[in-house]
């Protein structure tokens, strides 16, 4: 990690509260992150962890209750007053089918990302981008996105995002609703694009193990708070927080030799259920270089 480059994304003290009928829900509590340009941060957590809300705040869809977000050193006011700044942060959704308007043609969907009129130069860009995401440019003339497979639809969504020429892309579980055989291709595509275009990713995922090959840094969230952050290799090989360990233990393995070990870990998780007893008030502290955990 080069010290001379300041991070592209900085989140400081982010908190998001929602008002329900009689009480307040603390979806995100005091989260601080930073992501260097050209790298990927995996934001890992289960339901209720606040990872999706954090993603939406970074993407500008939800206003934070307190805290700040900066992109490239510029603090983002809630609502992204600047159009260029708005386009520099984009979002890929979990369900590709519903992120494309069913009444629009493919060309129109892509064109929405390009400001101004759609002239032949714009069409060239769109065709090139379709090729970049592994799709046939002839798809431009398709009348509807309805008949596309999950993988194809997600590629269209990625193409649309690229056409906005962003610096940072937030990916909200981009492969969770895709078939297993397609997942790897999409992840490889994203890695390729990151390399070619110097993109920065914040990848939201519920599966810690899968973060291994796709991210540089990992941040684990539980009930709105960060419980562990650090370089992916460090966190996965030496998890410091019991919840991180629980996530690693819970992941099933494809290796038939690990069957008994995995089942054994699962059975002890069944007995202990230790996850819920985590004390939420312990703050993050640095335990090893760059590796933070909310432990005593």
């Amino acid at each position: 990690m080069t010290a001379s480059t300041s991070p592209l994304l900085e989140v400081r003290g982010l908190s998001v509260e929602f008002r329900r009928r009689r009480h307040v829900v603390h979806a995100v509590a005091d989260v601080s992150l930073s992501v260097d340009r050209g790298t990927t941060l995996a934001l890992v957590g289960e339901s209720g962890s606040g990872k999706s809300t954090t993603a939406k705040v970074i993407a500008g869809l939800v206003a934070p209750t307190s805290g700040s977000i900066s992109i490239g050193g510029r603090e983002i006011p809630s609502g992204f007053k600047d159009a260029a700044l708005r386009r520099s942060v984009q979002l890929i959704f979990q369900h590709p089918g519903s992120s494309l308007d069913p009444t629009w043609t493919i060309e129109r969907i892509l064109a929405e990302a390009i400001p101004g009129r759609v002239d032949s130069a714009a069409r060239h860009r769109m065709a090139d981008t379709l090729a970049d995401v592994g799709l046939d440019p002839s798809l431009l003339s398709r009348t509807s996105a309805r008949s596309l497979s999950g993988g194809q639809a997600q590629r269209i969504a990625i193409a649309r995002t690229l056409l906005a020429d962003p610096a940072l892309i937030v990916l909200d579980e981009p492969t969770a609703s895709l078939d297993g055989s397609v997942r790897l291709r999409i992840l490889r595509l994203l890695a390729q694009l990151q390399h070619d275009r110097d993109l920065t990713y914040v990848l939201i995922t519920h599966d810690l193990r899968s973060a291994q090959s796709v991210s540089d840094h990992v941040a684990v969230m539980l009930r709105g708070r960060l419980v562990e952050t650090g370089p992916t290799s460090a966190v996965l090989s030496q998890p410091l927080h019991p919840y991180t360990q629980a996530l690693l233990d819970a992941a099933p393995s494809l290796d038939p030799r690990e069957r008994d070990a995995t089942m054994g870990r699962w059975r002890s998780q069944l007995q202990s259920g230790a996850v819920d007893r985590t004390d939420p008030s312990v703050p993050l502290r640095q335990v090893a270089p760059g590796h933070f955990a909310a432990v005593e």
Partner: protein, 277 residues
């Protein structure tokens, strides 16, 4: 003590389609499940795996029909050509766990009442059903069975609902448990616990389990034998170890490779022969 060599489930030549002339959803499926073992049917969306589980349970909807083949559970036929539902007085011990636990529970009835009702339908008297229902809730790891017993399904979490469903299924002491994507949509840690629970049940009851899943890793951990389904056609069947390490059919090989694969960061050529489907 059941002879573990006995096949609890025997499926031969099962073919299911839409009506008599519509598309075929499952084509000539044959396999056996020995008592006390877990078999996994692995397939992606549209592979026909859910239709298979419904056919075996004898729960096919009116629009689908068994065109050929036969399913026997514990020696008794549950599905055969021309008959898609079990007849009223056929008593076959099958328990089914579906993907959405809330859909399996009556939203208007407290958990305990539902559990007691299913036990009483099995022939238990009121007092015995009451105590047994609390036992079952404890067995599935619910710490406060009395309080949970008084709650409604919407008041407890999805994971806990699935535990209740497992309790109901176990209470009937079935010979076969069909679990159709029982943990899809649940958190990873909850999934681990539910699957561990299911595994424990198999060990304790000695029943057979048919696990339907799209997640190859889950199948790898849970199942003794696996069957890979693609477009309604059985592509490969064998022990888990064989399928995962020495698969023969090209689709299986690609599937395992795709799920197993690594994404190396940095420059690489995208091997994009198009998506598998």
């Amino acid at each position: 003590m059941t002879d573990t060599r006995t096949s609890a489930v025997s499926v031969s030549g099962l073919t299911v389609g839409v009506g008599a002339h519509g598309p075929t959803l499952v084509d000539d499926l044959s396999f056996e499940i020995a008592a006390g073992t877990v078999m996994g049917i692995v397939g992606e969306s549209g592979s026909g795996k859910s239709v298979t589980s419904l056919a075996i349970a004898g729960l096919l909807p009116p629009s689908l029909s068994v065109r050929a083949g036969e399913v026997r559970v514990d020696g008794r036929v549950t599905a055969s050509a021309g008959r898609r539902r079990r007849r009223g007085n056929d008593r076959v011990d099958i328990g089914v766990i579906f993907q959405d636990p809330r859909a399996a529970l009556n939203p208007l009835m407290p958990i305990g009442a539902q559990l007691r009702r299913s036990l009483r339908a099995a022939g238990m008297n009121r007092a015995r059903a009451e105590s047994r229902s609390l036992e079952l809730l404890e067995d599935v790891g619910i710490a406060d069975p009395v309080r949970v017993g008084q709650s409604y399904p919407h008041e407890i979490s999805g994971g806990m609902c699935q535990r209740v469903v497992i309790a109901m299924v176990v209470g009937a002491e079935p010979s076969l448990i069909i679990a159709d994507e029982p943990t899809t949509g649940l958190d990873l840690t909850i999934q681990a616990q539910i699957l561990a629970l299911l595994h424990e049940t198999v060990t304790r009851l000695g029943c057979a389990v048919l696990l339907i899943t799209h997640d190859l890793a889950v199948a790898a951990t849970m199942c003794d034998t696996m069957l890979v389904l693609y477009g309604g056609v059985p592509v490969e069947v064998g022990t888990s170890a064989k399928i995962l390490t020495a698969a023969e059919h090209p689709y299986t090989i690609r599937l395992v490779a795709a799920v197993n694969g690594e994404v190396s960061r940095g420059a690489l050529a995208i091997d994009d022969g198009g998506d598998l489907r």
